[in-house]
Each structure stands twice: as structure tokens, then as C-alpha cells.
């Protein structure tokens, strides 16, 4: 069966510091991968998605970036965090075949920028 991991689970960072959040998927090959952000009291917003290694699409212009260095690894980064980057970050995967297109989510990372 497939599993998705995210780390760290919780992170507190000062404004202006760098960020690196990691997501890995097990039990599947060439998955579609997604980064979402959930601000306090709001729904989820798609940030990035990837259909393969090195292929990243951005949905929202911001100071965040994403990379996919390996087939089942998806990284969210920032060179300098802003207060507005605080939120709950969720990684998700779906099958590349597109048969079901269902997205399955990881446990998330709670980021607080002070």
C-alpha cells in the first residue's frame, strides 16, 4: 500500500530565515505530487504540483519554491520567510495514470513564522 510522509511535523522559524519542507511517497511510481497551504480558518490553496522529476508548476506567485529531485520526493523551500508564510502545509499524491485522479494527503507540517 502507498504511504506519504511529511517532515517536520511542526516548525517555528524567524522572519527572514530559510525553509525546507520535505514530502516522500512510498509504494507507487511516478506519482503526481502537490503542495497545498491552509491558512488559519481558511480552505486549502494549491501552491505547486509536479507530474515528474524536475517538472514543477506554480499556481500562486510567492516567495516559495518547489523542487522534485527524485521520483517520490517533493520539497518546498524559501530563501527568506515572511510572516504571511505561516500556515499548515499539506503534501498530496495521485496516480500518474489518471484513472482515479484521487489525491491522498500526508499528515502536514504546521509552520509558524515569528
Amino acid at each position: 500500500s502507498q504511504t506519504i510522509h511529511q517532515w517536520p511535523a511542526t516548525l517555528v522559524q524567524p522572519v527572514g530565515s530559510p525553509l525546507s519542507l520535505e514530502c516522500t511517497v512510498e509504494g507507487t511510481s511516478n506519482p503526481n505530487l502537490y503542495w497545498y497551504r491552509q491558512a488559519a480558518g481558511r480552505g486549502l490553496q494549491l501552491l505547486f504540483y509536479s507530474v515528474g522529476i524536475g517538472q514543477i508548476s506554480s499556481e500562486v506567485p510567492q516567495n516559495l519554491s518547489a523542487s522534485r529531485p527524485q521520483d517520490r520526493q517533493f520539497i518546498l523551500s524559501s530563501k527568506k520567510l515572511l510572516l504571511s508564510d505561516s500556515g499548515f502545509y499539506l503534501c498530496a499524491w495521485s496516480e500518474a495514470s489518471g484513472i482515479t485522479d484521487t489525491q491522498y494527503f500526508g499528515p502536514g507540517t504546521r509552520l509558524t513564522v515569528l
Binding site: R42, G43, F88, A96, G98, G108, R110
Partner: protein
């Protein structure tokens, strides 16, 4: 662009009773998916149920069922025999079929289960 609207910020139901959560959406596409996700206090998003737009039959998963009205662009979730463990935020979501695009979410409904 697609939009998803959940008009009930909060709903309350007695344990063992039935509750219906509402969702409407707007799209110009004819083929798509609709989902209900549950987000408990742990905040992990858990898939509850999935509906394919080309299927007229409403999806059912144990105590969870949907009422999918394609012409009205309505997709409500019915929870039967409500249990304390059903207490959570429930999000309705839309996905275009065949693409790798992200989900479009509603703002969620907070479901409270009264013992």
C-alpha cells in the same frame, strides 16, 4: 475557473441522527470529479467519498452518501447514524478529469456531534 461554495460554516447534530452538508460548485466543464474530505483535529485530510461526474448513480461509502445533482451543480454529503468520531471539518472539493491540476476546495463546514 472553478469555484466551490459551502454555505454552512457550522452544523450540529445529535449522535445517531442524520445530517446533510451542502456544497455547490461552478464549472463550464462536463467531465470532472467531486470529493468530500474530512479534517479531524489532527488536521490530516482524509478522503470520505468520491463522485465521478459522468456517473448518474450517487456514491455511497458505508454511512456516507452523496446527492449529486449535475444540472444544479450541487453535491451534498449525508452522514447517517452520526458518531462522535465524525466530528471534524468537512471540505467539498472539485477536480478536473484527466489533468494533474490541483483540487479546488470550499471553505469547509465544521460538524459538531452532540452526545
Amino acid at each position: 475557473a472553478q469555484t466551490v461554495t459551502q454555505s454552512q460554516p457550522e452544523m450540529s447534530v445529535q449522535e445517531a441522527e442524520t445530517v446533510t452538508l451542502s456544497c455547490t460548485y461552478d464549472t463550464s466543464e462536463s467531465d470532472y470529479y467531486l470529493f468530500w474530505y474530512k479534517q479531524p483535529p489532527s488536521r490530516q485530510m482524509i478522503l470520505v467519498i468520491r463522485q465521478e461526474a459522468y456517473k448518474q448513480q450517487n456514491a455511497t461509502e458505508n454511512r456516507f452518501s452523496v446527492n449529486f445533482q449535475k444540472a444544479a451543480k450541487s453535491f451534498s454529503l449525508k452522514i447517517s447514524d452520526s458518531q462522535l468520531g465524525d466530528a471534524a471539518m468537512y471540505f467539498c472539493a472539485y477536480l478536473s478529469r484527466g489533468g494533474a491540476d490541483g483540487l479546488t476546495f470550499g471553505k469547509g463546514t465544521h460538524l459538531i456531534i452532540q452526545p
